[in-house]
């Protein structure tokens, strides 16, 4: 680790629903350009963790700090989801949440929303500035579609897409918000082996091109092991292990946690 604070630092994060401790005293760090995987049996609290990061839930205790190089650190917990997205965290959803009645392109254009400012008057008068901005948004969105190789669907309604493409579109939409950290919630869920391996390559590409760090929740161990620089293992809302794929592979705690499940 460098002396300068990591990009994302989560400390002592806890989330309690009523009596139930969903997360307990969680520690996590993400460095610039890192790919960090978050694994653990179902119900370990991985998605809850994402929801806390992105402001869907406000954590009961703990801190989430985002330190972008050349910027003053920002405390994320307690902010509204949209503010957090503006700060540079973008996510995908485990159960796909596209805008079904909008076209693929429009879905991505929505992602650009928070990076532009055209107001009501602009929209009505549609002056050169606004027109330029619109053109710009379309161009950027289309570019993203191209890089994710789904541009041929640009004008189809999102609801009409095949499953795999929907997952990719979720990523595209997230990228459009110009994040520094991309949170992927089970991106490989429901994909066939071929698609999965494509995804593997795609994620690496995305890291290169957009210079983002990536945190992903995933059950597909093969993918996790091949992709991640570091892995955090969660169980019952607590962090039971962390380390490089190598270390995790033969970590006793992990194996017991996964006992019964086949760890690829």
């Amino acid at each position: 680790m460098t002396e300068q604070a990591p990009l994302l630092q989560v400390s002592h994060l806890s989330m309690v629903f009523g009596g139930l401790k969903a997360l307990h005293d969680l520690e996590l760090e993400v460095g610039e350009g890192e790919i960090v995987a978050l694994i653990g049996p179902n119900g370990a609290g991985k998605t809850t963790f994402f929801n806390c990061l992105t402001g869907v839930y406000t954590p009961t205790a703990g801190d989430i700090w985002l330190t972008r190089s050349g910027q003053t650190p920002a405390r994320l917990n307690g902010l509204l989801p949209n503010r957090i997205t503006e700060k540079g965290l973008a996510r995908t959803f485990q159960n796909i949440r596209l805008f079904p009645e909008m076209t693929v392109l429009e879905n991505v254009m929505i992602g650009c929303h928070c990076r532009h400012r055209a107001g009501i008057l602009g929209a009505i008068l549609r002056g050169p500035a606004t027109r330029a901005e619109e053109k710009m948004i379309v161009a950027r969105s289309y570019a993203i579609l191209q890089q994710l190789r789904i541009e041929q669907h640009a004008n189809d309604l999102a609801k009409s897409l095949p499953y795999g493409v929907q997952r990719t579109l979720e990523i595209a939409r997230a990228l459009a918000t110009e994040p520094v950290i991309l949170l992927l919630d089970e991106p490989a869920a429901g994909l066939n082996p071929k698609e999965t391996s494509e995804l593997d390559a795609l994620i690496l590409q995305i890291r290169e091109r957009y210079r983002v760090s990536i945190v992903l929740i995933e059950h597909d161990m093969k993918l996790v092991m091949s992709l991640s620089d570091r892995i955090y293992v969660m169980d019952y809302g607590e962090r039971i292990a962390q380390g490089t794929p190598g270390e995790i592979r033969n970590n006793q705690a992990v194996i017991t946690a996964y006992l019964g499940e086949d760890d690829a």
Binding site: P81, R97, C114
Partner: protein, 401 residues
């Protein structure tokens, strides 16, 4: 076939049973007199029988028959055709007053006013997906702001028009704040309550609104200072409303296809994903409420100027329901749909006058009928906007930043 008849028979019997007390027996509790009108029973039976057969026939041949229903999208999609149609309509609209009596002009004006109302509500309901059953409140705000400003400060129509819109927008925001957290039908009932509250206040707060006896003698819009005769004023108003209508269509379409419009639709589609994409839910909702309300406000001013008299009775829940019906019946989110919806809904009862007492009965029937046979509205709603796609290299360099 026999089965068909049998089924129809059963339905007929059922309806005869259903209407037995209310349609057949007419009681006069005062004189303790009872009149039996068996003829009605036979009528109902017959009608039910025939209609069932027809309905089942339709059911069986739905697909074939559906073909005969004009599909509007292709027509509207084709740019040349579209322009042609628009030209025709524009011509008709412009020349309308020359060929029709001032009564016809008058009701057409009313219809156009409702078209504008519909388009305004469409922003809230159709685009942003916020079910608003109290829209009439903003209409009332507009009407009363003109009436009162004119009464107290002698403010003219043209001054009142923007003020009315502005005030309505403010009320829109005022309503928006408390209901931000509410979803779907909870929002619906709260907005309904809001509408009722406004009406009740107008009804009871005499010192402010002159109560139920309303405000009379509101001046019609002057025409460069000169006051017009009623006939001319009616024409003049027609053109004013026509202009306002065009303006509305222009503005609403532009909004819909803008960054803000997209945000509204996204909000309608999925609030959580919408926020996750960095869209400010609060602001988006409030702009929708405000922009929707402002149109109601302006039409309200026009309404006051048109009837020259207003009282709270004109702003009941039924009005909100009708405006909503216009939006849905026309086809949510579709501009053309809303306009057609308004024409149908406002002209229909007027032309049903021929049926005198039966008109509201038929009106209700038609409302149900259209919904049952055409749930997506007269003009369907599928709104798909394809953007001119940039060529590759542009896309590439755009991608690099």
């Amino acid at each position: 076939m026999l089965a068909e008849l049998k089924k129809a028979m059963l339905v007929a019997v059922w309806f005869m049973f259903l209407t037995l007390p209310i349609l057949v027996v007419k009681v006069n509790p005062i004189e303790q007199k009872v009149v039996w009108r068996w003829a009605n029973l036979a009528l109902v039976g017959l009608a039910a029988f025939v209609l069932t057969l027809a309905g089942r026939y339709y059911g069986r041949h739905k697909t074939e028959l559906a073909k005969y229903w004009p599909e509007f999208h292709p027509l509207l999609a084709h740019p040349a055709l579209k322009r042609f149609f628009l030209a025709i309509i524009a011509l008709l609209a412009a020349l309308f007053p020359l060929f029709f009596s001032s009564y016809q002009i008058n009701i057409m004006t009313t219809a156009l006013m409702y078209a504008v109302l519909g388009l305004g509500l469409n922003i809230v309901v159709g685009l942003a997906g916020l079910l608003d059953l109290g829209y009439v409140a903003f209409y009332a705000v507009g009407a009363y702001s003109y009436a009162l400003l004119n009464y107290h400060f002698g403010l003219g129509f043209w001054a009142a028009l923007p003020i009315g819109g502005l005030l309505a927008a403010m009320f829109g925001i005022a309503l928006g704040f408390p209901v931000l957290r509410l979803r779907g039908d909870y929002l619906a009932i709260v907005t309904l309550g809001f509408g009722e509250i406004i009406r009740l206040i107008l009804e009871n707060w005499n010192d402010f609104s002159f109560g139920p006896s309303g405000i009379a003698g509101i001046p019609r819009p002057g025409f460069f200072g000169m006051t017009l005769s009623v006939d001319n004023a009616i024409c003049y108003l027609y053109y004013l409303v026509l202009l306002l209508g065009l303006l509305t269509i222009f503005v609403v379409n532009r909004l819909r296809d803008s960054r803000i419009g997209r945000a509204w639709i996204a909000l309608r589609e999925d609030e959580i994903a919408c926020q996750a994409m960095g869209i400010d839910k609060t602001r988006t909702k409030l702009t929708a409420f405000a922009l929707g309300a402002s149109w109601a406000g302006m039409v309200g001013v026009l309404f006051a100027a048109k009837t020259t008299f207003i009282n709270p009775a004109s702003f009941t829940f039924l009005e909100s329901a009708i405006i909503l019906a216009i939006v849905v019946l026309g086809g949510m989110g579709s501009t053309v749909g809303v306009v057609i919806g308004a024409l149908v809904f406002i002209l229909l009862p007027e032309y049903l006058r021929a049926f005198a007492d039966y008109r509201m009965l038929l009106f209700g029937m038609i409302m149900v009928g259209v919904m049952v046979f055409r749930p997506q509205g007269i003009i369907g709603t599928s709104r798909r906007r394809s953007y001119p796609l940039p060529d590759m290299d542009l896309g590439k360099e755009a991608g690099h930043d």
